[in-house]
């Protein structure tokens, strides 16, 4: 891509468009284009008297066409394609500013009605110059996007950039390219030339002012379009209508022969969206099933448990979130905490297969902090496990789904304690977490010693346990 094309694409003139509309009494005259008020297909009986067609004024035709242009542009480009409409008669009257809140038809229509849409009838000193000068002033006002970019650019002289000191010539590469569309009625070629000449003079004057001003942004390029309007005007209508379709970005794929679905229209939340589909062959064609790949033959993934995890991390949208708030990061750290230790398969875990024995410890240990009350609950959980082991209770429910007999009960408990220790160690992030880990290690080591010697020490452990329970109360 050549650099000039790049500049045209990066700084398109249609970022800022100003319509300058001739609002002189001349525009109040009829367009001579008849409009039937009765629908063509309604033929009534013999007594039916047709209503004489009426004509819109040049003004009505102009403002309708301009608003239609705005409607299409704003529908397709809700931001970044800004339009202002300025009426020019004995003064310039602007229907809106560059503010995003005023870039819509409801606002423009409202302003137009309060100004008084119909051109004045008396022949006062009307001129397009008022509107043209006002349009050039408007062009030197940076849009919010331009202001933002000027502030970010280190080469911008200090008047736009509060963070950098010192003045001097601008070396900024940010360009102010724009377009002015004058809709007027020129008697002859001379009038057009005069308009162009005045435009040039005023643009230079304005730029001189803007360079010296604190708030203004000089114009680097301005595309001037003059639309000449006159009555009985198939030409005038064509000139305006052609422009409306310049912005339409869709280019449907043409199919030859058989039917090809290239686009789909759908609605989401009341807006219509056009989905463009790829019509070529897909490079993802005929992939092997995931079950044929790595990890594909494992059959005891904890799918149900992961479903629970997904539901507890189902996303919602908030209406108002403070600026700069990165809720994504909170979500990410929550998920990281919850999956710090998350066995993928049923056969690789004891503590998640018979959860009622381990809750609420499993949930509480994932929290950012364990409260004192929660710590008591966690300790209780450990004591219960110690008691179970002492009673030689089975660790897994009978229908746990593991194949064969599995390891012996002692071995089950040994692995369970290791797993629990691993979980609590990974989550050791507060004082109470550390206390929990200590309690766990104390009991784990005691039971381990106990089981490695003989059962005569069982009594000793029970005493210990009872003592601990008493302490708790």
């Amino acid at each position: 891509m050549s650099s000039s094309t790049l500049i045209h694409k990066l700084y398109p003139a249609n970022h800022k468009t100003v319509f300058v509309l001739d609002h002189s009494p001349y525009f109040g005259i009829s367009s001579d284009y008849p409009i039937e008020l009765d629908p063509a297909d309604k033929s009534r009986g013999p007594g039916f008297i047709p209503i004489a067609p009426i004509c819109k004024s040049l003004w009505t035709s102009t403002i309708e066409a301009v608003f239609e242009y705005c409607r299409i542009v704003w529908d397709i480009f809700p931001d970044r394609k800004l339009i202002r409409v300025i009426l020019s008669d004995v003064q310039a009257q602007s229907l809106n500013t560059w503010n995003q809140e005023e870039q819509n038809l409801v606002h423009c229509m409202y302003s137009l009605t309060s100004i008084g849409s119909h051109p004045p009838r008396q022949n006062a000193e009307c001129s397009m110059m008022y509107g043209l000068c006002s349009a050039l002033e408007a062009m030197c006002e940076p849009t919010s996007l331009q202001s933002e970019k000027l502030k970010q650019d280190p080469n911008t002289p200090s008047k736009h950039n509060t963070s950098v000191g010192g003045g001097g010539e601008s070396t900024s590469k940010i360009l102010n390219r724009c377009r002015i569309i004058c809709v007027t009625s020129c008697a002859d070629v001379g009038a057009v030339e005069k308009l162009k000449a005045t435009f040039h003079t005023e643009l230079q004057n304005m730029n001189k002012l803007a360079t010296e001003s604190e708030h203004l942004f000089p114009v680097h390029f301005c595309h001037l379009v003059i639309i000449n309007v006159f009555p009985c005007s198939a030409k005038h209508a064509t000139a305006l209508y052609n422009m409306q379709y310049q912005e339409t970005p869709f280019s449907p794929v043409l199919s030859t022969g058989g039917k090809v679905i290239s686009h789909i229209l759908t609605s989401h939340g009341g807006d219509i969206f056009m989905h463009t589909l790829s019509t070529g062959r897909s490079i993802l064609e005929d992939p092997p099933s995931i079950s044929e790949g790595y990890g594909g033959r494992v059959t005891d993934y904890r799918i149900t448990d992961f479903g629970i995890l997904m539901r507890s991390n189902k996303l919602m949208a908030g209406r108002r979130v403070p600026p700069g708030e990165k809720l994504n990061d909170k979500m990410k750290s929550k998920l990281e905490r919850q999956t710090l230790y998350w066995p993928l398969t049923i056969s690789s875990t004891y503590i998640y297969n018979n959860k009622q024995l381990f809750e609420p410890l499993l949930t509480l240990v994932q929290k950012e902090e364990i409260s004192d009350g929660a710590l008591i609950q966690c300790n209780q959980c450990i004591f219960n496990l110690v008691a179970l082991e002492a009673k030689h209770e089975p660790l897994l429910p009978n229908n746990s789904g593991t194949r064969g007999k599995g390891p012996k009960r002692d071995e089950q408990y040994r692995q369970m304690w290791n797993e629990l220790e691993h979980l609590v160690k990974l989550n050791n992030r507060s004082d109470n977490h550390a206390k929990l880990l200590q309690t766990l290690l104390d009991f784990k080591n005691k039971t381990h010693t106990a089981s490695s010697s003989n059962s005569s020490e069982d009594k000793h452990i029970k005493v210990d346990l009872n003592q601990a329970l008493r302490e708790l109360e």
């Binding site: 700084y11 398109p12 970022h15 008020l37 629908p39 009426i54 819109k56 004024s57 403002i63 309708e64 529908d75 819509n104 038809l105 009605t113 849409s117 996007l145 970019k149 989401h268 939340g269 009341g270 807006d271 463009t276 490079i283 993802l284 005929d286 992939p287 099933s289 995931i290 044929e292 790949g293 790595y294 990890g295 494992v298 993934y301 904890r302 799918i303 992961f306 997904m310 539901r311 991390n313 189902k314 996303l315 919602m316 949208a317 908030g318 209406r319 108002r320 403070p322 809720l327 979500m331 990410k332 929550k334 998920l335 710090l340 230790y341 993928l344 056969s347 690789s348 875990t349 692995q415």
Partner: protein, 437 residues
């Protein structure tokens, strides 16, 4: 991404490579070396990128497709043996041929890589080479086989897994580039139906692989049964769970770049984990709102400034902040027919007076307001004439209110003060409906 290997088969490729430290027994031509290199490349593809499509072309002054895109690397190998030397090198021919091949197969938006193997010798021609213009996103790698350096290392470098191409987007005043991070983090889950069909930059097949680190390995011993398929993989678990629950995972692909992980099934029993790379930016799915602000409800308590009341929770799809013109019900008389239909609507209400008195005046005021906004004052007299004519067309059975209100409204429309935007036309009080006195 699909690859096109283009081998130079010009006469200069038939030269023998003379190397000082090689004896005459392993003498080979430039073309043989290029074929050897291509074979190594195909070895790499069959070992590490089985699902890539590869096409083979041979070029001289013309360019011939030796094999269209295929995953059958053995057939490509066998076709390599059939290459024959032709005339002189011409790069234009290969560019045209590759463009045709890619456009007819994948279209203009699928990125492809072109690997050009040549001795770079243009023979007697003194043509200046124009930079190649590909009609698709192209990653071009030229392998120049010359006497000075051995070609094997450069070929090896070439076949290393291609990096993801950064995404570049140009908007008014902004040229932005996004690169995909090497880590994809899950940020939460959504129902498939909530996601809809968002615009995507690309789609990728997610293939489970042996994890390098052993960070989260469980301490519980379990029997090693051996074999790749029997070692658990998170991808397979994620795929199974999102498939069963009809969910998808929202993930982070890089700074301000989001993606969706979901299960994709073909018509048969096969299904796979897919990654949909959304258009970069936090607003890439308009009906989900700002993607940076999606959290599970339990985290709302941490959003301190604006605690949400339960009623304020919004459901997907979100309504747009600003309505498009088609849902605004605005007046637009660009076409004659739309003005006529607005008038007919008022007349329909007029014939059902007094039942439709409210609707009649509501529509009349709407039309009046629009006429004033557009400066379309000619409409006032026109509409008055239509109302007066409507009175003459009323059937004998019509309610007296029809004629009364129509005549009243017609009279008002001709008064200059009605053309004040602030003036609202209200119904005439008739003797026939006294109920509201």
């Amino acid at each position: 991404m699909p690859a096109i290997i283009a081998i130079d088969v010009s006469l200069s490729m038939a030269r023998q490579i003379v190397s000082p430290d090689s004896d005459s027994s392993d003498l080979c031509t430039y073309l043989q070396l290029a074929i050897h290199g291509t074979n190594s490349l195909l070895d790499y593809f069959s070992a590490h990128a089985k699902l890539e499509f590869v096409a083979l072309t041979a070029f001289s002054s013309t360019c011939e497709v030796i094999s269209p895109f295929t995953r059958d690397f053995e057939s490509l190998r066998s076709k390599l043996t059939q290459l024959e030397e032709c005339d002189k090198t011409c790069f234009d021919s290969v560019v045209q041929c590759v463009n045709r091949l890619v456009l007819s197969e994948w279209g203009s938006s699928t990125p492809c890589q072109v690997i050009l193997l040549t001795d770079g010798n243009l023979g007697m021609s003194s043509i200046t080479i124009e930079p190649p213009v590909f009609s698709f996103p192209c990653k071009l790698t030229s392998v120049i086989i010359s006497k000075t350096k051995s070609c094997h290392p450069s070929l090896k470098k070439l076949v290393e897994t291609p990096d993801t191409i950064p995404f570049t987007k140009m908007a008014d005043l902004e040229l932005s580039t996004w690169s995909m991070s090497s880590t994809i983090s899950v940020l939460g889950f959504l129902e498939i139906s909530q996601i809809g069909s968002p615009a995507a930059v690309s789609r990728h097949l997610v293939l489970p692989q042996e994890s390098g680190g052993n960070g989260g390995a469980p301490p519980v011993d379990h029997e090693e049964e051996g074999g790749e398929g029997n070692t658990p993989s998170f991808c397979v678990l994620l795929h199974g769970a999102v498939k069963v629950e009809n969910y998808a995972a929202l993930c982070n692909l890089g700074s301000d770049w989001y993606g969706i992980l979901y299960s994709c099934a073909d018509s048969k029993k096969k299904s796979n984990l897919m990654l949909l790379a959304l258009e970069p930016g936090k607003q890439s799915v308009p009906w989900l709102g700002n993607l940076q602000h999606l959290v599970s409800p339990d985290l709302w308590e941490h959003v301190e400034a604006f605690p949400l009341k339960p009623l304020e929770k919004k459901t997907f799809p979100l309504k747009p902040l600003e309505k498009k013109s088609y849902s605004l019900n605005a007046v637009n008389w660009i076409r004659q027919a739309s003005l006529q239909s607005d008038i007919q609507k008022i007349l329909r209400h007029a014939r059902k007076l007094p039942d439709k008195t409210v609707q009649f005046y509501k529509e009349l005021n709407k039309l009046k307001r629009a006429a004033i906004s557009y400066g379309f004052l000619e409409l006032f007299d026109g509409l008055a004439a239509i109302f007066e004519r409507e009175c003459t067309l009323l059937p004998g059975t019509a309610h007296p209110d029809c004629a009364l209100q129509l005549t009243f409204a017609a009279g008002l429309l001709r008064k200059p003060y009605v053309r004040d935007p602030k003036y609202v036309i209200s119904a005439m009080r008739t003797n026939f409906n006294n109920e509201d006195e």
